[in-house]
Symmetry: C2
């Protein structure tokens, strides 16, 4: 199975559908340009491809979930635009963030507009398939619940940045909401639209949630140990923002007192020098937190893969298995 | 027919439903407090009561549209929270705005969370009624389209503040999107959930759109000629923000050149003195723009009321007729 070929082929389908749902000609131009900026800048399209693959993995066709897949990428993009404002991030996917180009007001409203498009896409999809009301409302309930959970997770992420102590349990709950919820919704919606049996829908949902959590931990690791150019955002950003990543949570727990207070000094210091950031990264590394996070994400991925045992063999299942491994090996 | 009694009785139903859909105990507390702040501060609940009344006006029960009504008030509240950030407004409904209390990041994410709740409410409603897929998707399509139109309208409102010339036609399109779309969605969703015939649904939709446009024009008038204490927000705010209200559009069109350039000088001046604002208001008044706006809104209300001829007589129809008159007579 060629992971990248499978991914890219479906990513193209999703991108076409995104352009259909959100064509360039929509007025006012400034709103449309801002909405389309980040999705034009690329992205791996992992979430919508998860949706298509989940539809296929339960015996449906990728096309069964096309508008919903595009909608879930809109949902992802909307959260990125708003998170970037909240976190004051300047770059994303190697380009300037929306609020850096058009200012905060347009960035806020363009996120909102993308969010509105999410439900337009979902509606078009369930209507086209002529689903039963039960299945249709399950799709809507899944997407609205995930949207709310993302907000809870983002809030916790911000709140935790001002806490000295965040337990690993609190951290896990936060990323389950912030990142796990949308990955779960992506697989769950695909499984429902593909006509999955309840057992398959539940297995794919759990797979998605676990994958999302592992994905976020990998993101935490790449945020301090990744290559800036590949990763698309500056290394050390999480440290300057004071983010309570798993690395930070773990290092604060196991480091000797002096290192711990030094780390707390640097965390959240917006104007921390490159030297400060390097020192913080050394403390994380010396504490064994990076290795710890890598191991943790491997465990989660094993659990995610074992959820797929419920599914019949298929190319889509192979893709989901390989994607799981890729998630924790990726450098982008 | 006692307008206020009818309104308040149904407003209580909606408020109970809002608390059910968004209970206080949801974590994290800061998010829930921020989400509930504005809707706890009161508000006339005109939109959700329109939804209930529209369900009744086509022969259904108010209860048929209860969760959707609450959802539409969430949608309204979410747009207020985000608009207040974008417009840098400090007060709303006589209390501090969300971003003034909790800061912009929490205000952004609490708006998003309320938006997520919108679709949860709609989903619960169509599920409970066991609607046909056709009617269910029409409800979702209506709400997502209105949400998108609100974003278009808000964008135009901001963009126009930097334009010297905005035509009356452009202004009308802007408020049709910004305010008309949600009022239309409120009546339309109620009419669909109440089991209305297509002709009734369309008439109530047009009534809602016209009512919304007239409502916004009245808001423009109150923004310069209203009493601050009753109105809940500072008089002259629109002038300092440079808003292209109908008054401004009209005055710029008909005032003599010297008055026009003076008005343009004051508009959008964030630090305009009380004297400057008073002068701008005098220019608006002397141009006849206030009278013009009052007349325009009366015409729209007559058209809105005539749409209701399609409906059988009922208490709900009487309410809708009286609400139309109240809309342009109100001082709050």
């Amino acid at each position: 199975m060629d992971l990248m070929k499978y991914l890219q082929k479906r990513a193209r389908l999703v991108e076409l559908q995104m352009s259909k749902l959100f064509p360039e000609r929509i007025e006012p131009k400034i709103l449309t340009d801002a909405c389309r900026h980040l999705f034009k800048a690329g992205g791996k399209r992992i979430r919508p491809v998860l949706t298509l693959a989940s539809a296929e993995a339960v015996g449906g066709k990728a096309e069964d979930a096309l508008e919903a897949a595009a909608a879930l990428e809109f949902l992802h993009t909307f959260t990125l635009i708003h998170d970037d404002i909240m976190d004051r991030d300047e770059f994303r996917r190697g380009v300037k963030t929306v609020h850096m180009i058009w200012g905060e007001p347009i960035a806020i409203v363009s996120g909102d507009a993308l969010f509105a498009k999410v439900f337009e896409g979902i509606t078009a999809n369930v209507k086209r398939l002529g689903l039963s009301l039960r299945r249709a409302t399950e799709v809507f309930a899944t997407v609205s619940r995930a949207s709310f959970e993302i907000c809870q997770g983002q809030t916790l992420d911000m709140v935790f940045a001002n806490h000295k102590r965040v337990s690993e349990e609190e951290y896990m709950r936060m990323i389950s909401l912030k990142t796990g919820a949308l990955m779960e919704a992506s697989t769950r919606v695909g499984a429902i639209l593909g006509g999955g049996k309840p057992r398959e829908v539940e297995s794919l949902s759990r797979y998605g949630r676990l994958l999302g959590i592992a994905f976020q931990i990998r993101d935490d690791v790449l945020g301090v140990a990744g290559e800036e150019k590949k990763f698309g955002k500056p290394v050390g950003g999480d440290i300057r923002e004071g983010k309570r990543t798993l690395l930070v949570v773990r290092a604060l727990e196991v480091s000797p007192p002096r290192k711990r207070s030094r780390l707390l000094q640097i965390l959240g210091k917006r104007d921390a020098s490159g030297k400060d950031v390097k020192e913080a990264i050394s403390i994380l590394r010396d504490s064994g937190a990076i290795d710890y996070a890598v191991e943790k994400s491997s465990e989660l991925i094993e659990r995610a893969k074992s959820e797929l045992r419920a599914l019949k063999d298929s190319e889509a299942k192979d893709f989901l298995l390989e994607l799981a491994d890729f998630t924790i090996a990726r450098e982008i």
